[in-house]
């Protein structure tokens, strides 16, 4: 079984995001970047499948600027076998990402694609679902557990009020939720070994995809500053303040 895992280079979760002064977007110049945390979970799951003897090859793919190679190297250091970089200096929207991934799936013929459920930069949560629709494959989103039942996948999802288990036909699309696993550290020996693993370089045009944006961003602004609260002395004061605010009658 071959597993394909897309990994996205995003602003590191620890970085304090700054909006550009012209309000066209977030300032990305020389900001520390890392692999999207949900994609780390996806890679970890794929590598575990390989270690368990279920997967034979794990391919990591990243779509983005040249430095996305660093993100692929992280995936390789975690245990992926090889990488594909689809180079684009444009912002690639989820539908275009899904179209490029469809092209890669057709060329690579994986049995399973594991994606992070969303990327922490734009929080779109669309790519996995769109890819499943474009390919006409089964999809299991927000996975918290993946098991195999013969040639089918038993996939557990966390939903309101409990757990839902789906039985999916292969090939299939899975998107990883936070509790699927705890990703390993990329150890120093594996960082060194990852340097020798191959990374193919492609362009969106190789898959016949035009990455021109279909959405227009009008304005990006800082979240509104939260107003400071007050401390009330008594229940009576609390009730009267709530009434004043029109929250209760």
């Amino acid at each position: 079984m071959k597993v394909l895992v897309p990994v996205k280079r995003v602003v590191d979760y620890n970085v304090k995001i700054r909006v550009k002064s012209d309000q066209t977007g977030v300032d990305l110049a020389n900001v520390k970047m890392s692999m999207n945390p949900f994609d780390e979970i996806a890679i970890e799951e794929a590598v575990r499948l390989k270690e368990a003897g279920k997967a034979t090859e794990v391919v990591a793919v990243s779509i983005g600027v040249a430095q996305s190679t660093e993100t692929i190297r992280t995936a390789l250091a975690m245990g992926a076998d090889r990488g594909i970089l689809v180079k684009s200096d444009e912002t690639v929207e989820p539908l275009n990402v899904a179209k490029i991934l469809k092209g890669i799936v057709e060329a690579e013929k994986p049995d399973l694609v594991i994606l992070g459920k969303q990327a922490i930069d734009d929080d779109s949560n669309q790519t996995g679902q769109m890819l499943a629709a474009l390919l006409g494959w089964a999809q299991g989103t927000f996975a918290s557990k993946i098991e195999f039942d013969g040639d089918k996948i038993l996939l557990t999802r966390e939903i309101d009020g409990g757990l839902q288990t789906l039985k999916l036909n292969m090939p299939t699309i899975v998107t990883a939720d936070l509790r699927l696993n705890e990703p390993r550290y990329a150890s120093l020996p594996n960082i060194m070994k990852a340097k020798k693993k191959p990374i193919d370089e492609k362009t969106p045009a190789d898959y016949g995809v035009d990455v021109k944006a279909r959405l227009e961003v009008l304005k990006v602004t800082e979240p509104p500053q939260r107003q400071a609260g007050i401390k009330v002395e008594s229940v009576e004061q609390l009730v009267s303040k709530l009434k004043e605010a029109g929250v209760i009658g």
């Binding site: 300032d27 110049a29 020389n30 900001v31 520390k32 890392s34 190679t69 660093e70 190297r73 992280t74 250091a77 550290y185 990329a186 150890s187 120093l188 020996p189 594996n190 960082i191 060194m192 990852a194 340097k195």
Partner: protein
């Protein structure tokens, strides 16, 4: 300013030199791994460890799994060989973010205990000891300093006398990092006449009869198990002799230059932690109707800290470049260590002045670092010894 040198953040923050010309993709990947490891496995527990006076032994194994313990050691013993001092710099910087040098001192103590074995020890000894140590299963300490004298290594008094197929060791060692829990100890003993030519290195093992230890309480480094060691007719087999008899002095000296550059990198990183924590505090706290950071007297403190950190970092990186090119600039490495610990001392002082009472409370990184200034300024060669060594090297 070229973007290569800056990520647009504060000139002294930890990620400022992330993209600098000395750092490549592998250094960045290693830094990212360490950053996560320190934040997930160490930071949540460090206050507890400090109060308890030790950290769980399990941390050695976890550190081995990510390749931290094996950094720079041969592959045949489970290490990851790297011929590049930048890995040690990145490691020292990221471990310093914990703000508890005692954890690092004991966790990485094999960094002083094991190298003499690998440099001059027999193949059998290396094969027996190194794999277990680099796997985090055994702890390897170094015993040089004695109650009768510290930096005067050539005059140490612990004596090993030949006895059939081995040695009988008598004497004591003091201020031994990792000394309470270590399994292996690289110990300097006198086997010959006075002076450096009469010194040998022996590998002592924890359970050898007549070998005892007592814990020592310290100003800082509380998580580190520092000990006094006592040898009372300890019988050590000949196989545990590290290198040739009376040739141990060189094995001790090999360590020092490498150790000093790491100590300097740690010290300047501790200074940076002080800067960061004081800055976060000064931006948040309001006094006399404005942010603490808006008072001129406070702003100038930050500018002065930044100046000293930047100058020390530049000196450090200059030394690194020379070491990378195969030089051993002894005078500069000695002076770099002095420069780095003075910077740490200054920044710990100023950060605590800025933070006031909050900085004086336990559980705060600045409070701990303040208590660790002296161990950095004394350990691994005191400022006075470093200046003296530099003066001699410079032919003054």
């Amino acid at each position: 300013m070229s973007a290569k040198f800056s990520n647009g953040q504060s000139p002294v923050d930890f990620d400022h030199r992330y993209m600098g010309p000395l750092y490549n993709d592998d250094h960045r990947a290693w830094r990212a791994t360490l950053r996560k490891f320190v934040e997930a496995e160490m930071m949540p527990h460090v206050d507890e460890w400090e109060e308890a006076g030790e950290f769980p032994r399990e941390l050695y194994k976890k550190a081995a799994e990510i390749g931290l313990l094996g950094l720079g050691y041969p592959e045949e013993y489970g290490g990851t060989p790297v011929d590049d001092p930048m890995y040690s710099i990145v490691t020292a910087e990221e471990l310093a973010r914990l703000g508890a040098g005692g954890v690092n001192a004991s966790l990485m103590v094999h960094g002083i205990g094991l190298p003499p074995v690998l440099a001059i020890g027999s193949a059998a000894l290396k094969a027996r000891v190194a794999p277990q140590v680099l796997a985090g299963e055994k702890i390897h300490a170094l015993g040089i300093t004695e109650p009768s004298g510290g930096s005067d290594v050539a005059n140490l008094k612990t004596r090993a006398t030949r006895d059939g197929d081995g040695y009988i060791v008598n004497g004591s060692k003091i201020f031994i990092t990792g000394g309470m829990r270590a399994d292996y100890y690289t110990v300097a003993v006198r086997t010959g006449g006075p002076g450096p030519k009469g010194i040998s290195l022996l590998l002592l093992e924890r359970d050898m009869p007549g070998f005892t230890r007592t814990p020592l309480k310290k100003q800082g480094w509380w998580s580190s198990d520092t000990a006094a060691l006592y040898f009372d007719d300890v019988r050590v087999p000949k196989e545990n002799l590290i290198g040739e008899e009376n040739n141990g002095f060189i094995g001790i000296m090999l360590n020092f230059n490498k150790e000093r550059i790491g100590l300097a990198a740690s010290a300047v990183a501790f200074a940076r932690v002080c800067f960061e924590d004081a800055l976060a505090w000064a931006r948040d706290r309001e006094t006399f109707g404005k942010r603490l950071a808006d008072h001129q007297v406070i702003r100038h403190k930050f500018a002065e800290m930044a100046r000293q950190i930047a100058a020390t970092q530049a000196y450090l990186e200059q030394c690194v470049v020379r070491v990378k090119e195969g030089e051993t600039p002894v005078a500069d490495l000695s002076l770099l260590k002095v420069q780095a610990t003075l910077t740490m001392e200054f920044c710990a002082r100023e950060a605590m002045q800025i933070m006031g009472g909050a900085g004086y409370m336990r559980g705060c990184r600045v409070e701990r670092i303040y208590r660790e200034v002296r161990v950095n300024a004394i350990g691994g060669g005191s400022e006075e010894i470093m200046r003296d060594l530099a003066a001699r090297q410079l032919g003054i």
